[in-house]
Amino acid sequence: MDHQQSKPLIELSQVTKSYPVASGSFSALKNITLKIDSRQLISITGKSGSGKSTLLNLITGIDRPTEGSVIINGVRVDKLSEFELASWRGKNVGVVFQFFQLLPTLTILENVMLPMDFCNTYPKKDRRERALALLQMVGIGEQAEKFPSTLSGGQQQRVAIARALANDPPLIVADEPTGNLDSQTATAIFELFAKLATSGKTVVVVTHEREFSSYFESTINIADGVIVKAAAVQV
């Protein structure tokens, strides 16, 4: 893969993230520089507390760096206001959580339609059809009118992926998406991610599970807030 040819989708430059603690300040990430190109399935690994979730939060604009800059798809994310970030995130990043985080009082279909509603991205009449198509794509189209609580964990995670794709964002990030699933279901989820990367999405996944490393084109390993090993990404 020739990553020099295109502009990186994710570009972190000398990023430090510190949190105030009782004893002063704790740096979760230390002077990180990172570039990730589009159309990749990348994993971020590391021990608990190493800083991998913080890195993911910076990429999604959920958190802001203490120092340095975060540019995603050409946008200086760390400079956006909370209001601008919400809209930007809705259109540019699809987030998949470990505990799925589907809204319990909405049906599966409505959960997938919600990002389109918030971001006003597709014509109102097309949203239902698109949501159904996405649910079909992740393999649970027939469950569309059910509520999340009636589905298994794996099914809920598929819905979460469909929801992440609702606004057709170039970037999908997932924080330990299979941490709560059995290995068979987890495999299915990783296959789905791989399919998404093939179809042109950049998928960044935080995971502990080494048995799925074969799915990833690149892996960023973090320890104590520093990238200790990065394969096929520019550090």
């Binding site: 985080q101 409505e110 919600l114 918030f118 606004n167």
Partner: protein, 799 residues
Amino acid sequence: MKPRYRKVIRDLTSSYSKNLMLALAIAVGVFGIGSILGAYKVINREMAVNYLSTEPASATIEFEGRISNGLLDSIRSFPGIKKAERRATITARMKVDERWYPILLFVIDDFSKMEISKFLPVSGSQNPDHQSMLVERSALPVMHAQEGDQITIRTPHGQAQRVKIVGQVHDPGLAPAWQEQAGYAYISLEALHRLGEKQNFDLLRLQVSDNEYSASEITKKAELVADLLKTKGITVHEIQVPPPGKHPHQSQMNAVLTIFTVFCFMILMLGSILVATSMATLMVKQIRQIGVMKTIGGNSYQIASLYFLMLLVICVIALTVSIPLSRLAAYGFYTQIAVLLNLEITDTSIPWSVPLIQILSGITVPMIAAAFPLVRGSRISVRAALDNYGVSATSNTASFLSRLPIINAFNDTFRLALRNAFRQRARLALTLGLLAAGGAMFMTALNVSEAWDKNLKRIYVQRLYDQEIKLNDRINQDSILGRIKSLEGVTTVEGWDYSSTSVVKESKYEVTRTYPDKGHGSFSILALPVNTKLLNPTITEGRWLYAEGTNEVVLNQLARTSEMKIGDQIYLSLEDKPTTWKIIGFTEDVGSSAAAYISIRSFEKLNGSVNHIKMIRIGYADRSKDYAWNKNREVDRVLEELNVRVSSSTPVWLLHNAVAAHMKVLVNSLLAMAILMAVVGTLGLTSTISMNVLERTREIGVMRAIGATPKKIRSLIILEGLTIGILSIVLAFIISLGLSYFMGEFIGRISFRTPLTLTISIVAIVIWIMIVTIGSYLASILPAKRANVITTREALSYE
């Protein structure tokens, strides 16, 4: 429908019991506002309509002499005078069930041509002859009579005679007869003569043609008419100018209903605080959902609008229920007040402004109250929202509490419950505020009610006599006081005197604010032996009379004006002559009209009637009503034997009952409001406890995982509720003291022109402690059950 709106609907319906409780909290306030304001608007309108429909006299001139038809016509064509009529009002007595009661006889010139101070026909003939009379509808129950019955009436100078009731009328200008414990009848001059009175008309009722709402302009015109009367040789005793266009009870009613409306707005505000706390908790509960919605593209405005919409739906439900119910309650309330004020409600429509105010207040007040938690919750950053794991660690206050030595005397469960109660300080403050305000209003209502009763009892404390007899003419007291004193059971008899009076200003005439019923707005001089044993005046300033024959005067609070002070000179008219007095004291009388107390020797000196009296006051050995009844009959017999003519005879218990009847409905309404407050307060506590428990579901799971038994968890939650409840009682008591003082001052001033004594009702405190304790227990038991029903695994995984 957009998915976000579906979420609103489903969130509302998924916890419908809680949301219904919020709707109920708002509904209670909106209901109160609608019922009070609705009644207020109807009564205010109908009071004016009723009163003005009687064509009330702008002024009444009390005269002595004869106004001929020709002179009456000249007065009618006098500049600025629209209408004029001759009248007379006699206080007589009527016999009901072998007992004598006062009756006011209104003498009408021509029943078919009444133009001023009219009354409205109800039934029967409206043109009584010389042997019959019309009766005000509210007087029939007092007279224990019906149309067609004959009533025995005795006028001051006549013999008892039977007069037939031929028709009923409604006179909205009069307080209901049952309230005054008197009869009201309308007779012709011929009928009056038949009853033994020789007097002619002695009142000239006038209605002015312009500036009809200016008391000073009315007075000027009445004085010009009085001048005309004087030139015709007619003596003018007094000019009465009651507040123009105002029903005798209008200002009091307006004031009371205003304060009730304020109370209802307070209930709504408290309900809204409950809504705010509930919405704040909802935001905490949904914090992760907010984080997720923000992650998938929802901005703060969109998210805030979802929760505002949810609140709006709750408000609309509250309004939908409360507005129709409040209209029914308003109907009940204004019907009661109409009875109290002797009004006929001609138009029952409640103005559109009332539901509009309900809608506006029922939506805006909760919205404003909930705005802070909703906006703050919606603006939370995604990271803060996603990292939220429920309630935070022990607060500083809780840590402080736990360090107090006394706390350590309690067991672990209590200490933990106490700390838990203080963990969400803002919510605790709101809940305490809500419960304390509810409790304070509850206690205030009962305190004021008790203070009212206590004040009424002062009627007996101040009046050591049991019967007051007013005589027609001044008589030598030596001949009668001894006879009455010799009756068994009579402990004290005193001869007093009295005269109507007014403060003489620059006016040529005595001008009073007296209403045609001769009671409202009247001012009398009471002449009494200075060493009286039958009066126990409450001196508020200066001193009581101690020397006979001086020019000293003591005024009660109704006679006092703001500029009067001890040592001032005051000019009072006495039998049409100005007299000079020195103010030496002020009293606070309960249940009296305006009075100036002077020594009887001074009075004798001024009118030259030495040893003559016009009033007898008698004290009995037993102050009970039945005893007074029997003794009064004996006294009546003595007076009859001595041929002493009685103008009126009023037992003190009758006065007590009449004053009590004036405000009974209003004090009861205050109690009804207290119950509403108790409801809102308990709802607030239920809400807080259940939310406190909900937030700590995960924590409870941890406690159970490390061995806490369901019993332990239940007692922990119940103790937490009781802790909040008990704290609120202390606060409620403190607030109620200030509120009771204010309400007592207000109600006392409008009814007695003197504040009610601050009274602390032990019953109120005990009832409130019971309500809060039981309420706290019930409010805690449900969340406690829920906490124990959920499995440890579910609790630990709760987000």
